[in-house]
Symmetry: C2
Amino acid sequence: MAISGGPGRDRPEPSGEPELPDVDELAISGKEPPSARVPLSRGRILSAALAFIDEEGIGALTMRRLGARLGVEAMSLYRYVPGREDLLDGVVDALVIELDGDLDVLRTPEHGWQDFLQRMAHGVRRMAIAHPRAFPLIASTPPEAPWLRPPLRSIRWVETFLAGLLAEGFDDEQAVAVYRAFTSFLLGNLLLEVSQRGAALGPLDLVEEEEPANGLSDAPTIERLSALLADDNSLQEFEESLESLIDRITIQIVAGSGA
Amino acid sequence: MAISGGPGRDRPEPSGEPELPDVDELAISGKEPPSARVPLSRGRILSAALAFIDEEGIGALTMRRLGARLGVEAMSLYRYVPGREDLLDGVVDALVIELDGDLDVLRTPEHGWQDFLQRMAHGVRRMAIAHPRAFPLIASTPPEAPWLRPPLRSIRWVETFLAGLLAEGFDDEQAVAVYRAFTSFLLGNLLLEVSQRGAALGPLDLVEEEEPANGLSDAPTIERLSALLADDNSLQEFEESLESLIDRITIQIVAGSGA
DNA sequence: CGCACGAGGCTTACACCGTAAGAAGCACCC
DNA sequence: GGGTGCTTCTTACGGTGTAAGCCTCGTGCG
């Protein structure tokens, strides 16, 4: 949460205001009809970028096109965003902020940490499904400056998660262990689900190859199974895996509490 | 695939098959000293691309630079590779091929499917650690043509894995279920491990900010925990998670066998 | 009122990118 | 010699991120 007064890193905006609100409105609005001149802001830019990615994918997002969508020249964006990579970082942060404001995943001290993890997982899942093309961003280190960054391109994610765990009574090492287990779980499950959800449109795009009766016939395997692969019963699977993970954490913590 | 005999260092290249000019040598050699004119081939290109990515990251890989590394003009690459995206696909496929030739993960019918999964997981892990900057490729749908593709950018991966599972006696639905669970597990665990392994160089690159005594003090959380986060005891964690997952599969399969 | 000023947006420019089209080298066989 | 294919190089085009500077106002101050 941290209403942008706290740990928000200061953007290299030395002038005027000491701190600018990273994401303000984030109205998740679509494209702007050429209405009155809305004054352009970091929030509006990030919001438009997210909408753009949702519609056309990350690769299609260029500064010029994003500018055009906002009725503005590309270079104007640089007044609010240091560059393209930082813009993508900003989109990820915006998603995370939207997430943990969405269901205020902290502030429920009465239901215990299992409930916290459940809420967190479902919140992230909802996000992944709502923005399937933006979600993989969270798991990809940016092409430039590949390391020397927080894992997963959003320090806010780590902060939010760890703070929640600590608030639930975990100690430092437990929190980190749970963070790892849970983040890797979410990452894997949701990346796979999102990618399969996309592939389900028309199953696997095997180039329509005429396998000329290869005697061994190992190609048909995937053709035969592609319907099963595209079959979308993933919510139930997600639930089961989630509960199983939470059980495992219980056991691990209980078993490890002696040490 | 082509028993490939004993310890001969010969690369897979299943020469019996009709025509598979995909990956031939893949010597994983480094940069080519300007020695004699080696004739350039898809395999050499993919190998150089992988080495390039390992050294400088995906973002730094351009056709021109890759050409220069091979002592060749950029356009020459297009005789063997349809374009940049396909080149990246090829790199992923090369990794997967290297993997399942590396430990011939099939062909061990005597040790049961748990052993198969163990070998698979460790093989992928070794690959992820050997090529940490290339590995995220496997989990990222290409920016163009985002859907309409096999999940995870390598149909070969799906094929190899499913074929192995079927060979171990799973039926179709079980194989798909195990494939999902296992792939998501590997993806999540290894993406996180790889990214943290990178971040461990110097912990989190917080811009050195002078937080002017914000009363709430929620910033230090991550600073305090960053050492723990960077701490690399991940092999053991991986093993534990792996065993736990395999147990879960056992239970699930046993429980689900009645249906 | 006049006017400097500065924020916000625009224009120009540059280096680099992927790649389409075709020219130039080259080994071979007739 | 003259084709005849490959393979590689040259040239060129449209697109990209972004550095540098210009223009245009609303605004505050004398």
